[in-house]
Each structure stands twice: as structure tokens, then as C-alpha cells.
């Protein structure tokens, strides 16, 4: 277990203030925060790359605050992976093991096991500069895991990847964590990444940890205005009736709005969706009318880069968010009639972590879309 107590650090004009958090053994812990929140500096403090002025870091009861990076047993994967360009992938992975001076057979077994686990056996002789983003990420992970660290530190590991690769590697990170069981601290500004990967998470804003808890707790009950501003207040809809369409897919009535969503656990009371997952259009969007509703703009806030639009649909008030620039292009004004679409895969049933079966999605796409 890693315990961070009252950690403070100043770099230039930026200050990390009294950060305290405990991270459990084998936990996948995500630190979520906007750019400039100090996440990377915090991670560098944990790795021992900065001399911290006050506070304490304990790893399994041992104070490591003043220890050099190589004595801490923490492996660090920076944002753009920083693979050594003068070594091939094999030697990059072996880099940390060579420092331990292990027998050759042990080194080779570790190398081969990691290469198989991460699916990079075919890349071992390659120059790292010729790898794709996803391949580099896997090679950097293998290099970090090779010396058997007690803690794995991942700095925005998916931010430079395309959407598809990032999505696939999120699953891979989860799988690798389950197989290796290494306590992992992952920093990101991406809500989806945090929600999908974290056992627990912290929200960091302007150098302070604002809230620590399970993703559902943070997304559904932001503790401070800063957290609420960053994660966004969810739309929570009361369900008055529901019926099963096919196993794994339900239709619910929320105050007159008929919503289709993945669920097969029987009746439900509340469903939630993030404002970022509500699309707004000033013209009738093409395609099926599933989870598409007509409403009227009741309130509009374009004072920041992310416009907040409250749309009245029946008895419900649904909040949507979109880039302010786009809201201006669509000439959105209070009282204007618009269409909203709720993104099916992002609808959550409160109190349930279940997602729809592949069959349910197949039915949805075949029958409805």
C-alpha cells in the first residue's frame, strides 16, 4: 500500500498543496483532472524525480520520501513512452532487468513472458522509432513491468493514440492489471478512461485532490463545485415504467420520455447520462428515432469554452454540453426548438455496473438502426 500524506511541492509558479491519499495493494487507481492540474508533477514526485519540500510518502509502511528513484521500486511510463532509441525493443525491455544482474535464463524467461502477455513477441528486434503508437505503448509497459515494480505509474498512457487503439488498449490495460496484479496509478484527463479502468479514483484540480472514491461515487455525487465543474453534473432521470425488448435491452419510461438502454436485471428506479453524451441538433437528425427527442432550450450558458444547454423535454430537464463555438454556429438561443439524442452505450442504471450483452447490441443495431 502507498500512503501519501500532506505532500506539497512548488515548481515555478505552480504548487501542489497538501495532497493526501492512500492507494491499496493491487488497486488500479486513476487520478483524473484537467490539463494543468498538476497530475504529472504529482506522479514525478511519487517516482522520486523531484525533491519534495514537505509531506511523506510511505510504501508498505516504509518511508520512501527521501529515497532516490532507483531505490523506490516504482516504474514510470511517461506520456510519450520515451523508449530508448539506441536499443531495439528486446533491449528496451531488458534494460531494467540488466540493472538487477539476474541470471541470463531468468532474464529471458521474464522477457518472453512479458512479450507474450503484451502481444509484442513479433516486435522484439524492431527499432522503437518504427513502432506505431499502440506498439510503443505495449513495449513501454513491458519495459516498466520487467523489473517487477511494486507500483506502476502511467502518465496519460492513452492520450496520444487514436480513438480505436485507445479503446482497445483500455481493455488491455485492465487485463494486464488483472493478470500481473501490480498496483497501478494512472493519470488522465479523460473521464471515460477513468470510469472504465479505475477501482478507485481521485479528482485533481489546480494542484489539490478534491475528491477520492469509486468512479460511480465521483461521477454521480461530486463533492465540491470544482469536481462538479470538471466531471459535469449528470442528468438523472426517474423511471416510472419499464419493459424488456430482448434479453439485455430495456425500454424505460422517464416522465414521458421512452428510453432504450442496455440492462437485464429487472426493474430500475433511476438512470443517468452525462451532459457530454447528449447530442443537440437544430435540425431533425437522420436515422432512427430511438432515444431522440424534441425539446425547447430553457437555459443556455456560453460563458466558457464548453456551452451548457438545458433542454426541456416533457417533464424532464436534460442538460447537454458541446463546444461553445458549435453552439454559436447553430445559433442556439433560449426558447429555440432542438432535437436531442441520448447515446445508448453511455446510459447508466444507477446502482448497476452491468452493460448489455453483445447479443443485445446486435439486436439493437439490426432491428432499430
Amino acid at each position: 500500500m502507498i500512503e501519501i500524506k500532506d505532500l506539497s511541492f512548488k515548481i515555478g509558479d505552480f504548487t501542489l498543496r497538501d495532497l493526501s491519499v492512500d492507494i491499496q495493494d493491487k488497486e488500479y487507481f486513476v487520478i483524473l483532472g484537467p490539463s494543468g492540474a498538476g497530475k504529472t508533477v504529482f506522479m514525478e514526485c511519487l517516482a522520486g524525480l523531484h525533491r519534495i519540500k514537505s509531506g511523506r510518502i510511505q510504501l508498505n509502511g516504509k518511508d520512501i520520501t527521501r529515497q532516490a528513484p532507483e531505490e523506490r521500486g516504482l516504474s514510470y511510463v511517461p506520456q510519450d513512452y520515451v523508449l530508448f532509441p539506441f536499443l531495439n525493443v528486446r533491449d528496451n525491455i531488458l534494460f531494467g532487468l540488466k540493472q538487477k544482474k539476474l541470471p541470463y535464463s531468468v532474464e529471458q524467461k521474464c522477457l518472453n513472458d512479458l512479450a507474450v502477455l503484451l502481444g509484442i513477441s513479433h516486435l522484439l528486434e524492431r527499432d522503437p522509432r518504427t513502432l506505431s503508437g499502440g506498439e510503443k505503448q505495449r513495449a513501454a509497459l513491458a519495459r516498466a513491468l520487467a523489473p517487477s515494480p511494486q507500483i506502476l505509474l502511467l502518465d496519460e498512457p492513452l492520450s496520444s493514440l487514436d480513438v480505436q487503439t485507445s479503446k482497445y488498449l483500455r481493455l488491455e490495460l485492465r487485463r494486464i492489471h488483472q493478470e500481473m496484479g501490480v498496483t497501478t496509478i494512472h493519470i488522465t484527463h479523460n473521464h471515460v478512461e477513468a470510469e472504465e479502468l479505475a477501482d478507485r479514483m481521485a479528482v485533481m484540480v489546480r494542484g489539490s485532490i478534491e475528491q477520492v472514491g469509486q468512479p460511480q461515487e465521483i461521477f454521480f455525487s461530486p463533492a465540491t463545485p470544482a469536481v462538479s465543474d470538471f466531471v459535469g453534473s449528470l442528468n438523472i432521470l426517474e423511471c416510472t415504467a419499464c419493459r424488456q425488448l430482448v434479453p439485455g435491452l430495456m425500454e424505460v419510461d422517464c416522465g414521458g420520455m421512452l428510453i432504450i438502454l442496455p440492462h437485464d436485471e429487472g426493474a430500475m428506479q433511476k438512470i443517468a447520462i452525462s451532459p457530454r453524451d447528449v447530442y443537440v441538433s437544430d435540425v431533425l437528425p437522420p436515422g432512427p428515432s430511438v432515444n431522440r427527442y424534441k425539446g425547447k432550450i430553457a437555459a443556455l450558458d456560453t460563458s466558457t469554452t464548453s456551452a451548457k444547454i438545458d433542454v426541456k423535454v416533457g417533464n424532464n430537464m436534460i442538460r447537454a454540453e458541446m463546444p461553445t463555438e458549435l453552439a454559436h454556429e447553430m445559433s442556439l438561443t433560449i426558447g429555440k426548438e432542438v432535437y436531442i439524442i441520448l447515446k445508448l452505450r453511455r446510459l447508466k442504471v444507477l446502482g448497476s455496473q452491468q452493460s448489455a450483452s453483445p447479443e443485445a447490441y446486435h439486436w439493437y443495431y439490426q432491428e432499430i438502426i
Binding site: 524525480l49 511517461p78 530508448f84 534494460f95 519495459r143 516498466a144 523489473p147
Partner: protein, 268 residues
């Protein structure tokens, strides 16, 4: 300036810059051609194989190589220290180390000569190693001039290395010295090679400080540039031309090797 707007302006600007480049290139080509055509090949070959020329070539190559080894050995830690540390008075130290690049080599040679006339300098010169008017003096004079160049080149190499390579290696179990030898030096390889070649070429051509400290004695402290000076002063133009051609060939070869090694990315 108004007339130089648009595509016409682009063409005029391009023509002006390329003309400047062509003129300067032509200037150097004319100088080299005039060297090669000044004397006939027979005289040049005879001058090349003359014992004095062979001595000057041998002494220049040996002293420049020793100087380069010493200069690079000291420049690596110094350049790394300046590149990676912030300390009070850093810009003063940095400027001091650059002095030999901007001060006249003759002045540096004279300063060294003055030092060897102080009690401490005399003690070193008389009891430890004789520098004044001797071969070690050539190495010391060359070292004083070229070490600044080696430091400047290596500092720019270390500056260009992303510090996160070293940081990552630390988290992978390397101590700071291990990270330096296993990561920083391999990353600096091309810069090191370029710095060594340029330092060597500059040491080979060093004249002012060398002649002031080590003197210009034939068959004793006669490096290639000193041999050129001696040939000119004795009106032996054929030998002087032969020696200049050798220096040009050595320097051009060094520059071509650097471009090959570093892919034209070295910075002076």
C-alpha cells in the same frame, strides 16, 4: 519594399540569397584552385615528401590526437554539469569557458607564457613537465584553445537530450552514474563523434597560441601551421602551398565525416 510583394518578391529574394551563396562558394573555390595551380605537381610532391613536411604532419597528428582525447575527457563532465545544473553564477562560468573561442589565440599563448613566468608556473615548468618551447607546450596551447569548442559542442548535444530518458532509466533501477553511462552517453554518441572530429581538426590547424608558447623551432615544435609560417618566412612558397593543401584536405575530410555521421545536424 512595396515592389517586393507577391511572387515577384519571392523570386527576387530567392535570387538575392542564392547569389550570395554562389559568390561566397566561388570565392573559396577560386582560392583553392589558385593553390592547386600555383605550383607544378612535381614541386608539390617533392615538398610533400620532404623530411620537414613529414615531421610537421606527424607532430600535428600526434599532438592534435592527444589534445582531442584530453579535451573530450574534460569537456564531457563539464558540458554535462553546465547543461543539467542550475547554480548561482552559471552564466559567468559559462562565459568564462567561452573566452578561448573569442580571444585571439596569440593572446592566450602569451597569457600561458606569462603564467609560466610566475613562481607557480616556473615550478611546474622546471620540475614537473616542461611546457615552454617544447612539445607538451603544443598540446597545452591546443588544449586551451579547443577545450572551449569541445565544451560548447557537447553542451549543445546534452541540451538536446530529453531529460526524461534519464528519469525513466532512474525508475528502472539506474543510479545517476549508471543512467549517464547507459543512457545519456549512447544518446550523445553522434554529438560526441562530431565534437571529437571538429576538436581534432581545430587542434590540427591551431597556430597562434602554439607558436607563442611552444615556439617555431624546425624539427622540434614544427606543427603543420608552424611549418607553413616557416616556409613563407624563408620564401619557400612551394612547400608552403603543399602544406596548406594538406591542411585543407584534412579539414575538408573531417567536415565530410561529421556530416556523414551526424546527418548534417552538428552545431558549432
Amino acid at each position: 519594399m512595396k515592389k517586393l510583394k507577391g511572387a515577384g518578391g519571392d523570386r527576387a529574394f530567392r535570387a538575392a540569397t542564392i547569389s550570395a551563396l554562389a559568390l561566397l562558394t566561388l570565392f573559396f573555390v577560386v582560392i583553392i584552385v589558385s593553390l592547386l595551380t600555383f605550383t607544378d605537381w612535381g614541386t608539390m610532391v617533392n615538398a610533400l615528401v620532404a623530411p620537414e613536411t613529414l615531421f610537421a604532419i606527424k607532430l600535428s597528428l600526434i599532438t592534435a590526437t592527444i589534445t582531442t582525447i584530453l579535451a573530450i575527457a574534460i569537456a564531457i563532465p563539464v558540458a554535462y554539469a553546465i547543461s543539467t545544473n542550475e547554480f548561482w553564477g552559471k552564466s559567468l562560468v559559462d562565459s568564462l569557458l567561452d573566452l578561448p573561442i573569442v580571444i585571439s589565440p596569440v593572446a592566450i599563448g602569451a597569457a600561458l607564457l606569462v603564467f609560466f613566468n610566475t613562481p607557480m608556473g616556473e615550478g611546474i615548468n622546471n620540475h614537473l613537465l616542461r611546457f615552454v618551447f617544447s612539445v607538451p607546450g603544443i598540446v597545452l596551447a591546443q588544449f586551451t584553445i579547443v577545450s572551449a569548442l569541445a565544451i560548447r559542442l557537447l553542451k549543445s548535444t546534452f541540451d538536446s537530450i530529453d531529460p526524461r530518458y534519464e528519469q525513466v532509466s532512474r525508475t528502472l533501477g539506474c543510479s545517476q552514474p549508471a543512467a549517464f553511462f547507459r543512457v545519456v552517453l549512447p544518446l550523445a554518441k553522434n554529438g560526441l563523434i562530431a565534437a571529437a572530429i571538429l576538436t581534432w581538426a581545430r587542434a590540427t590547424g591551431e597556430f597562434g597560441a602554439t607558436v607563442t608558447l611552444a615556439g617555431a623551432t624546425a624539427f622540434k615544435t614544427e606543427t603543420l601551421p608552424i611549418a607553413i609560417s616557416l616556409s613563407l618566412s624563408s620564401a619557400n612558397i612551394g612547400q608552403a602551398v603543399a602544406l596548406i593543401v594538406i591542411l585543407v584536405v584534412i579539414s575538408l575530410t573531417a567536415l565530410l565525416i561529421i556530416r556523414k555521421v551526424t546527418g548534417r545536424k552538428y552545431v558549432i
